[in-house]
């Protein structure tokens, strides 16, 4: 073992002295480490390429790449569309209502996309108002009917001449009025 270390140090020394000599390169000598202390980069150019040991950022970068892709996939068409609408169609201008003219319900909005949505997708505000009033009327009628039903119950229970709260009893004709053998029958 001592002989091995001697050989190794001798090979290192020989390699240091003459690296280009035939017998001195790493492939032939036992040792593979040749410290080349005289050929270190002295001019600080782009620097020596280092392998920096850090945890993998592949997954983070992949996530950000995919996020960017999926956002821009619909984002860019939407932006292009809205810009085209603003440039080519443009917003509406305020005007006085002409005499005898009733504007449609979408003609009260400024931006053309809002106008389109109100025209094709939403109901007109008149219709919404009427729907609300119809709902209120239905609820009012339901409440009124419930109150009258309570009143009717009260009356029928009290006076007893209505169809409700009738208790079925046996027929009067079934009573046997003939005199019995014993008095308490």
């Amino acid at each position: 073992m001592v002989g091995m270390s001697l050989l190794r140090s001798a090979a290192a020394f020989a390699a240091r002295l003459g690296p280009l000599k035939a017998g001195n390169n790493a492939a032939h000598i036992i040792t593979r480490t040749i410290p080349r202390t005289d050929k270190v980069a002295i001019r600080w150019g782009h620097g020596k390429k280092m392998f920096v040991v850090k945890p993998s950022d592949f997954y983070d970068r992949r996530f950000l790449r995919l996020l960017q892709y999926y956002i821009l996939l619909t984002g860019i068409p939407v932006v292009v569309f809205v810009t085209a609408v603003n440039v080519f169609i443009g917003e509406a201008e305020l005007a006085e209502i002409p005499e005898g003219y009733e504007p449609e319900h979408w003609e009260y909005y400024k931006h053309p996309i809002t106008r389109w949505i109100v025209r094709n997708i939403y109901d007109s505000p008149v219709k919404d108002y009427e729907k609300m009033m119809a709902a209120i009327q239905i609820e009012k009628e339901k409440a009124d009917m419930r109150l009258t039903q309570l009143e009717v119950r009260r009356q029928m229970r009290q006076t007893g001449d209505g169809p409700w709260f009738q208790v079925p009893t046996l027929d009067k004709e079934l009573i046997d009025h003939s005199p019995k053998a014993s008095p308490d029958n």
Binding site: G90, E93, I136, Q137, K140
Partner: protein, 171 residues
């Protein structure tokens, strides 16, 4: 270009440009800067606007302010007539919004006046300030502490309280 603001409510202060009395042969840096600003910012922006307007001039859209019909008030509704209550409530809400906007406009006028007059606003803006005080006092007495769940009924009750207080005071 859209219609500019109402020039009577927001009068422009008189121009104070001094008479040009050039006594040196050196160029005027203010003039140079204004020309630079004009050529780098003003002209491109104006040409851009004009091109866009010329593209847009083919389809001109208009929009209007909606005018609502007046419907019977909360005081004119029968008791238990819920659709009438609903219509009165909606009308009251619209009126509330209009009143809020009126207060904002009056406030804006007072602020513009103060900005225009500078340090002598207390004596020069008396009309705007007095109008602002009046409008806000009325708004406060009518819609003052109704809160976020304000409704026509609550406002009516507040009015009743006001009338009772006025009667108690006069009697």
């Amino acid at each position: 270009m859209p219609k500019d603001f109402d020039t009577e409510a927001y009068p422009e202060p008189p121009r104070q440009t001094p008479v040009v009395d050039k006594q040196t042969a050196l160029p005027n840096p203010a003039l140079i800067l204004s020309k630079v600003f004009y050529y780098t910012v003003d002209l491109p922006v104006t040409t851009f606007r004009d091109t866009i307007d010329s593209i847009r001039s083919k389809n001109k859209l208009v929009y209007y302010h909606q005018k609502f019909r007046r419907v019977p008030d909360l005081t004119e509704c029968q008791e238990g007539d819920y659709p009438c209550y609903y219509e009165a409530e909606m009308q009251w809400r619209r009126d509330y919004k209009v009143d809020q906007e009126i207060v904002k406009v009056v406030q804006e006028r007072m602020r513009a006046c103060q900005q225009r007059e500078g340090n002598s606003y207390e004596q020069n803006c008396t009309k705007e300030i007095q109008q602002f005080h009046e409008v806000t006092k009325n708004f406060q007495s009518r819609y003052g502490d109704l809160g976020a769940y304000a409704s026509a009924k609550k406002c009516l009750m507040k009015q009743k309280e006001r009338m009772m207080a006025a009667q108690a005071q006069s009697a």
